[in-house]
Amino acid sequence: MPRTTTPDVVRTATAGAPPAARLRAEDLTLAYDERVVAEHLSVTVPDGSFTVVVGPNACGKSTLLRALSRLLRPARGQVVLDGQAISSYAAKEVARRLGLLPQTSSAPDGITVADLVARGRYPHQRFLRQWSRADEVATEAAMESTGVLDLADRLVDELSGGQRQRVWLALVLAQETDLLLLDEPTTFLDVAHQIEVLDLCRRLHRDGGRTLVAVLHDLNHAARYATHLVAMRDGVVVAQGTPREVITAEQVEAVFGLRCVVVDDPVTGTPLVVPLDASR
């Protein structure tokens, strides 16, 4: 597939970036070893937004999130956090400003919910001050807001997928960062739990005044929850804006190669993508 089929769209999309953004990517080249995933990629995360990144498989959306959370060092360009290159911060300092829910993580065997969530306090701890009152209060608040406080002494292994994802989210919340990055938080969950987790994310965004960035697979979920939508294809930002601006039949076909009609969601009024029947 040819890269950068729509370079002018990219330029117009990023030109008027608002200045007040704690987190932005500047002219990134992202690569795993020799394989280049994206070049000249610039993305700005508007402060206070619930930004959702969508795009087909292997479009580089998770890679972008890894770069934004300094899990992946860009081959070129930089990620700017609070006015400084993210690579110039101490590791724990970044973790006090920005939290990430990774796509895969493993809970040690036999660990309890409370014990796991408490580990989110690591960036605030020192060798001799491993468990202050502030740690206790922040961990409990994180568990309270994700609804896992009642599970506190249960084993993580015994939880359902939805409960477990909320526990991991609580761990990231215990970090007390205003910036939250979520890499496909609904993968492996059934539809009820997907909505449950996304509702929770929205509440964290609205009530907590946090800035959220999530990578999602489901376009209709993205349209329903995002305040700012970024559509990527082949390592290029093809469109960004409000869901209503981004989710149009033309753009969906351009990004995903899927012919569809876009109607209003009867419940939320947000755009709803209904694929056309390819066999007819």
């Binding site: 899990l71 590791a91 796509q103 993580s105 960036p123 896992v148 406080l149 009642d150 015994e158």
Partner: protein, 389 residues
């Protein structure tokens, strides 16, 4: 939940498994703010262990009474085993005679036997066992696998190769043998690490599989060297390969003590990060742990501990494999505890040495063979019952 007020005492754990918690956590049972526990209290009740805090919170740590109790008991058992081991030998002593000799009040003969002959052997055993136990804990944590111990992933065999080359080909003395064991153990670890490296990260399973492969090759090399060497050297090498504490003096124990004193504190310091590495590389990195740097430092320390232990006593198996798991089960910790593994390793090795010396005549064997035998049984049991291995 049916209660309308929540006590500040432990959440009692009677929450039904299938109970759906409302996602917002604002369960209706938290209606009365007048009796609501202070912030953090409900969590504090659910977390294991106790909290020790100074008023300024300069010191604020969570500690598990169980770990302290287990550690104290292991230390007592270790002292008991040590004293018992020092009573046995060609001239039997009573435990009282051993203790008075240790305190410097014994008669000349007993003092000479205890301080000059038997104590260095016990001290070597304690230090070798502790070093192996800690090395096992480090590698099992890093590889997230109970099989990830230095004797399974080839480092022990690699150290043995250096020693065998020194004995058979170069015909070096004890010090040269010890040095070669350390150097070749390190070299073997570097090879395994580089082969297991994918991109800029080293994975758990890859480390174990590559280690087993490298270990198998080196084991064949060791066998080849034995058949090619002269008879005397081959016998000497064979004795060394069995692993033994026999005839260990202060010239073995003193350098070993120095090495362990240097290598152990940084492992304890970094050991806290092991718990975070177990969450997965991404989760640990996002929490501010420098994953690859920590992993490399711990590997170097673990290989160093393995190397000095083998240099002092030969390739002793089983201790590094079993001690961390036994310590973990006793303390009920989610990860192998560093200090607990050290104490357990020391106790296991001293006990095995005691046992191997005092089996009925004809069954007596070097401690390395004894631990190998026990280890084989343990490994078979482990493989048949773990789901992840």
């Amino acid at each position: 939940m049916s209660t309308s007020t929540r006590p500040a005492v432990p959440a009692d754990g009677t929450v039904p498994a299938d109970r759906a918690v409302p996602p917002d956590g604002t369960a209706p049972d938290r209606a009365d703010p007048a009796v609501a526990p202070p912030p953090g209290a409900r969590l504090a009740a659910a977390l294991p262990g106790r909290v020790l805090r100074t008023p300024s919170e300069a010191l604020a740590v969570r500690w598990r009474p169980r770990a302290v109790v287990v550690g104290s008991v292991l230390a007592l058992v270790l002292v008991g085993l040590g004293v018992l081991a020092m009573t046995k030998g060609s001239s039997a002593l009573t435990p009282g005679e051993v203790v008075t000799a240790l305190l410097g009040d014994g008669d000349r003969k007993a003092t000479k036997i205890v301080l000059g002959i038997r104590l260095p052997r016990v001290v070597t055993g304690v230090l070798v066992g502790a070093a192996l136990g800690v090395a096992g804990a480090v590698f099992q944590s890093l590889s997230r696998n109970v099989l990830g111990s230095p004797d399974v992933i080839g480092f022990t065999t690699g150290a043995a190769t250096g020693a065998v080359v020194q004995i058979v080909v170069l015909e070096g003395g004890p010090l040269a043998i010890a040095l070669s064991a350390v150097v070749s153990g390190l070299a073997c670890a570097v090879v395994v690490y580089l082969l297991a490296l994918r991109g800029s990260r080293s994975g758990g399973y890859r480390l174990i599989l590559v280690g087993i492969g490298v270990g198998a090759i080196l084991s064949a090399v060791n066998g080849l060297l034995l058949t090619r060497g002269g008879l005397d050297q081959a016998v000497e090498a064979q004795v060394w390969l069995a692993g033994s504490l026999a005839g260990r003096t202060w010239t073995h124990a003193a350098p070993l003590a120095l090495a362990v004193a240097l290598l152990l504190p940084p492992v304890v310091w970094l050991g806290r990060r092991l718990a975070y590495l177990e969450l997965g590389d991404d989760a640990a990195t996002q929490l501010g742990v420098r994953v690859e740097r920590t992993r490399l430092a711990l590997m170097v320390l673990g290989v160093g501990l393995t190397g000095v232990a083998i240099a002092a006593a030969g390739p002793i198996s089983f201790v590094a494999l079993a001690a961390p798991q036994l310590a973990r089960r006793l303390t009920r910790a989610p990860a192998p505890p560093v200090v607990g593994s050290a104490l357990m390793g020391a106790a296991l090795l001293v006990a095995a040495d005691l046992l191997s010396q005092h089996l009925p005549l004809g069954l007596a064997m070097p401690v390395g063979l004894m631990t190998g035998l026990l280890g084989g049984i343990y490994l078979a049991w482990l493989l048949t019952r773990t789901k992840k291995a």
